[in-house]
């Protein structure tokens, strides 16, 4: 699914990722943990294709080189990034945005676009499944949403777009336990043999609900340790300090 070899990324001449290696197979859930400033969000941005980074190394998604591919093409091909800080877009209705977004993805795959009725049916189904209040659909995109609502909206988008690789950038930060459960439910109910997840988090708490197949520790732009689920619990006890 995803092959990263010796990935380096800098922004404004500052090197953030310094030779990162990571391989994710279909159906796997990988967690990336690490202290502040280790490069976790940079990795998420680089994978989704945000402008402004200078990149070298190998970055392949389903066998295709990602480096030259613009943001929207990556999204259309099935890379989804749940933002750490989802943006507020005034004047844009959440429902319209979701529909435009889904239809862009469907169109790029050569599939039929959904009409308003079929879309509404789908979106209501997903809201019900996740336990998200439908009212957010008629509101302006993320405007005045609470932290929890914003993150739930990210998971709803993930459910609707049905991507192959889901990157969750600190989706758990700022969430109460109920919202955390909704996020975890969204991920767990989507898990299947074809779909992969990259869960970026500070804390082990989210990993109590989303059981990862692998846990990686990112420090100073590199993955310094890889293990199974227990590694997260170990880190919770010892902290990141000891790794350096």
């Amino acid at each position: 699914m995803l092959e990263i070899k010796n990935l380096e990324a800098s922004i404004n001449d500052k090197k953030i990722l310094k030779g990162l290696n990571l391989s994710i197979n279909p159906g796997e859930v990988h967690a990336i943990m690490g202290p502040n400033g280790s490069g976790k969000s940079t990795l998420a941005n680089v994978l989704s294709g945000k402008n402004g980074y200078e990149i070298s190394g190998e970055l392949k998604f389903q066998g295709e080189d990602l480096k030259e591919l613009p943001v929207e093409k990556r999204a259309q091909k099935g890379i989804f990034l749940a933002f750490q800080y989802p943006l507020e877009i005034p004047g844009v209705n959440t429902n319209n945005f979701l529909k435009t977004s889904l239809n862009s993805v469907l169109k790029s795959k050569g599939e039929n676009e959904l009409d308003t009725l079929s879309f509404l049916k789908l979106v209501k189904e997903k809201c019900l499944e996740l336990g998200i209040d439908e009212k957010i659909l008629s509101r302006q995109l993320n405007v005045g949403f609470s932290g929890g609502e914003k993150k739930k909206n990210e998971i709803l988008q993930m459910k609707i777009l049905d991507p192959n690789l889901c990157i969750l950038d600190e989706t758990d930060s700022g969430l109460d336990i109920d919202a955390l459960k909704i996020v975890a439910k969204g991920v767990n109910s989507s898990r299947n043999k074809k779909k992969s997840f990259l869960v970026i988090t500070h804390y082990q708490r989210l990993l109590d609900y989303i059981k990862p197949d692998f846990v990686h520790v990112l420090s100073n732009g590199k993955i310094v340790k890889t293990g199974c689920g227990e590694l997260a619990q170990e880190l919770e006890k010892t902290g990141y300090e000891k790794l350096n």
Binding site: S48, G49, N51, F83, L87, G91, V92, S101, L161
Partner: protein
């Protein structure tokens, strides 16, 4: 480059049935116009719209439009039920008030008001000197219009290098209400100037909602001066969606003469290549407990130019005034230009006045967010533009009119 624009005083002699007094008034105005000419940037009110320069660049010749015209075929809008007034080149052609009690409505050719002072605006003087046509609409007491009134403002295809001067007046009497949409349809492919003077009077407890929108793009150069007089507890709102014009200057002056009046001026404009739009307002708070609210939003593409000059004046007796003014511009292109001049002049001490003005480019982070959901750059920009203008459309309460305006704006944004 245009040769000098000359108007012979004998032009006034040709105007039928005017008294000696009126003739004098017209001559005074014409003399003033002739001494100043078209307004240029040296006049403070025209510093961002050098009309003299614009006329010189766009007209090889220019003359006064005659009243005769061939009546164009009028296509009524089918989007919602409405009454209508049909103007051809600014002249009142016909009207239809089938949804209303006809005895409550008076519609006539404008009766000339020659008691106005000589204006400092040369175009207003030119209008006072030469206008012969336009409408006077009066709504009797205690009558609320059941359906909206559309003023179809047609310009015929033979108008070329002409200037048209028209005068309109709307008077709403006590406890009455009217909702007007001015819908401009331009069949001329040539350049011309439309110079309109409009008087609006709102008596006690009356209400006027007006909305401006165009049928399509136009090579017309439009100037309109609107003078509003608001009496006790009256309510005036003006929504401006006049995109697609080569030049448009709306100069709106609002006198809040008695207690508890409210005045709203809102605009959502999407300007493209070569377009120039100015909205100039002056809200005169002359009595206590009045409110005014102005929100102007412009999206500027290519080399377009948008201007907002807004003044709020609060007289010493106008305590408890609540006045709000905000202008915002979204510049899509580095060549686009936005000028804003907000002004407050306050002589009362117990008032709340807020004003602000911002301009900026498209938010790159917002673009990234939308594109990360599969929308390409163009689609994302369009979505952000629509979002930016949307809160003005939200002020339209009638659902079918709202959809109509949304579709028009969408067509403009999509370049149709």
């Amino acid at each position: 480059m245009m040769q000098d624009f000359e108007i012979n005083s004998s032009r006034i002699d040709k105007i039928k049935k005017i008294s000696e007094k009126e003739k004098n008034y017209r001559t005074q105005n014409l003399d003033f116009f002739k001494s100043v000419g078209f307004p240029n940037k040296r006049l403070e009110d025209w510093k961002f719209s050098d009309f003299k320069d614009i006329v010189n660049k766009n007209f090889d010749e220019l003359s006064i439009q005659d009243l005769s015209y061939n009546t164009p075929k009028m296509n009524l809008l089918k989007d919602f039920d409405h009454n209508y007034i049909f103007l051809v080149n600014g002249s009142l052609h016909s009207s239809n008030f089938n949804f209303e009690e006809k005895k409550k409505i008076k519609i006539n050719i404008y009766d000339k008001d020659i008691n106005q002072q000589i204006s400092k605006n040369p175009l207003v003087c030119l209008n006072h000197a030469l206008s012969e046509n336009g409408y006077f609409l009066e709504v009797e007491r205690n009558y609320k219009f059941k359906k909206v009134l559309i003023i179809y403002n047609y310009f015929t295809k033979d108008i070329k290098n002409k200037i048209l001067n028209n005068k309109n007046r709307i008077k709403i009497n006590e406890n009455s209400e009217l909702h007007v949409i001015e819908y401009t349809v331009n069949e001329s492919k040539f350049n011309f100037i439309s110079n309109v003077h409009e008087d609006i009077e709102l008596e006690k407890n009356s209400k006027l909602k007006s909305l401006y929108i165009q049928h399509d793009k136009s090579n017309g150069f439009f100037h309109k001066y609107i003078k509003n007089k608001l009496f006790y507890n009256s309510d005036y709102s003006n929504l401006i969606f006049s995109s697609g014009l080569k030049f448009n200057k709306l100069d709106i002056e609002c006198d809040l003469i008695e207690d508890k009046c409210n005045c709203n001026i809102m605009s959502a404009l999407f300007l493209k290549k070569g377009e120039h739009q100015e909205i100039k307002t002056r809200i005169n708070h002359l009595a206590p407990n009045c409110t005014s609210f102005q929100k102007i939003k412009k999206v500027l593409n290519s080399d377009s130019k948008g201007i907002f000059q807004g003044k709020i004046y609060v007289k010493n007796v106008a305590q408890k005034t609540n006045a709000y003014q905000l202008s915002k511009a979204l510049l899509i292109n580095d060549d686009a230009e936005f000028n804003s001049k907000p002004e407050l002049e306050i002589y009362a001490d117990d008032v709340k006045c807020t004003h602000g003005s911002t301009s900026g480019n498209i938010d790159e982070d917002a673009l990234y967010y939308l594109m990360a959901r599969g929308l390409n750059r163009e689609e994302s920009v369009k979505l952000l533009v629509k979002g930016f203008l949307n809160d003005i459309i939200e002020f339209i309460k009638n659902p079918s009119i709202k959809i109509f305006v949304e579709n028009k704006l969408e067509d403009q944004i999509n370049g149709r």
